[in-house]
Symmetry: C2
Subunit: 202 residues, 2 copies
DNA sequence: ACCCCATGTTGACACCGTCAACACGACGCA
DNA sequence: TGCGTCGTGTTGACGGTGTCAACATGGGGT
């Protein structure tokens, strides 16, 4: 059979994934991806509804790898050390694959909410982080604390990537600093959201 | 004189600024901006080197407004209240002008470092935040603490914008929560970066 | 009076996403 | 066996975009 019998889709995704880090999400062209996969320019439309749908697959893959990295790093540790390791894995992922990380959080390019598979992968990545936080604070505060943890780590990751705030090597020390800040807040009585904290059943 | 004698540039920037929030930074076309300003498609090239240079002007304006918003909010307050107000202003800015905020931190679209005016405006915005932090922690720790403050607030702002994590109305409570977390860390003995903190002269 | 240059305009090119139309091998059913 | 349908692939065409070139024009300095 002269067909690629199903591996055309895989070839397209692989080509897109490799090219992504070279040219960035905005520089990715569907035609270029097809050419790199050895197919004609229209071939991608046999496997993806449009460009955004293809980017959504890349983003979903990214969230899966991010979740795996976070779990692998924090797995056998506990408490603050686990949180620091998870944070470092998160920041490290962003620094190792900046274009992919950008794509995953670029609503203008891919509206994750419209692609169930990608949304599920993103939810799983968040769950990996939440699980680590659950190991060091009371259940009633897990939501607030993990949001704080996610925010600080995500903010630092995007600031280093987008604004070049610090060299990537500072990642380990920063992850530790942030983990201790968040862990300290987890040990404290309800702080901050107290205005509406009754809604959370705390 | 039939010329726009200098206001063509201003008209282009104004048209771009208004259109930006409707279509997003990626959707902005130089030709469309020119048309909206009542000029021919090539007119922008008389005032900007290329598309990126025009986006850099928008980004610079954004940083100026962000700095002003942060200073206005935190101005007459002190301590944690000032930090919470600054954080709320930062998050509020991001939520009020999501496309502009995205553009300001989208290195793929505009590499701020290559446009001195934009880089200066960005530095000023950071300075506004740093000044607030300086009001509630020892000088030797201002750098670390303000980086943590910036990270957590920026992370939350981008996560609400890009991932729709929470409704915008939670902004005030979150800013307060984050301010207290950061302020608590400012009161603590050197945490986290202790591995290399000697480099900072502490 | 003259020329230069800032400013503005249209022509042209390559590239892009996407819609149509068409080619062809695989497979179900008579 | 033959035939039709469908999944997969290809090329043609259209409107849109950033940008380079060439050309128009009017005001200000010599």
């Amino acid at each position: 059979m002269t067909y690629h019998h199903g591996d055309a889709r895989a070839a397209l995704i692989a080509a897109a994934g490799e090219w992504l880090e070279e040219v960035g999400a905005a520089g990715l062209s569907l035609r270029g991806v097809a050419e790199r996969a050895g197919l004609s320019r229209q071939a991608p439309y046999n496997h993806f509804a449009d460009k955004e749908a293809m980017l959504a697959v890349l983003a979903a893959q990214g969230f899966e790898r991010l979740a795996a990295a976070v779990r692998a790093a924090s797995g056998w540790r506990a408490g603050v050390a686990a949180l620091a390791a998870a944070g470092e894995a998160y920041i490290g992922f962003a620094q190792a694959r900046p274009a992919l990380f950008r794509l995953m959080f670029a609503r203008e390019l891919v509206d994750i909410a419209r692609f169930p598979e990608a949304a599920a992968a993103a939810g799983d990545a968040l769950a990996a982080l939440t699980q680590v936080v659950a190991g060091l604070c009371p259940a009633a505060r897990v939501a607030d604390v993990s949001l704080a943890a996610w925010s600080i780590v995500h903010g630092y990751a995007t600031l280093t990537n987008e604004a070049g705030i610090e060299p990537p090597a500072r990642r380990t020390a920063r992850a530790r600093q942030f983990a201790e800040i968040v862990a300290a807040s987890a040990r404290t009585a309800a702080d901050g959201t107290n205005t509406r904290s009754r809604e959370h059943g705390a």
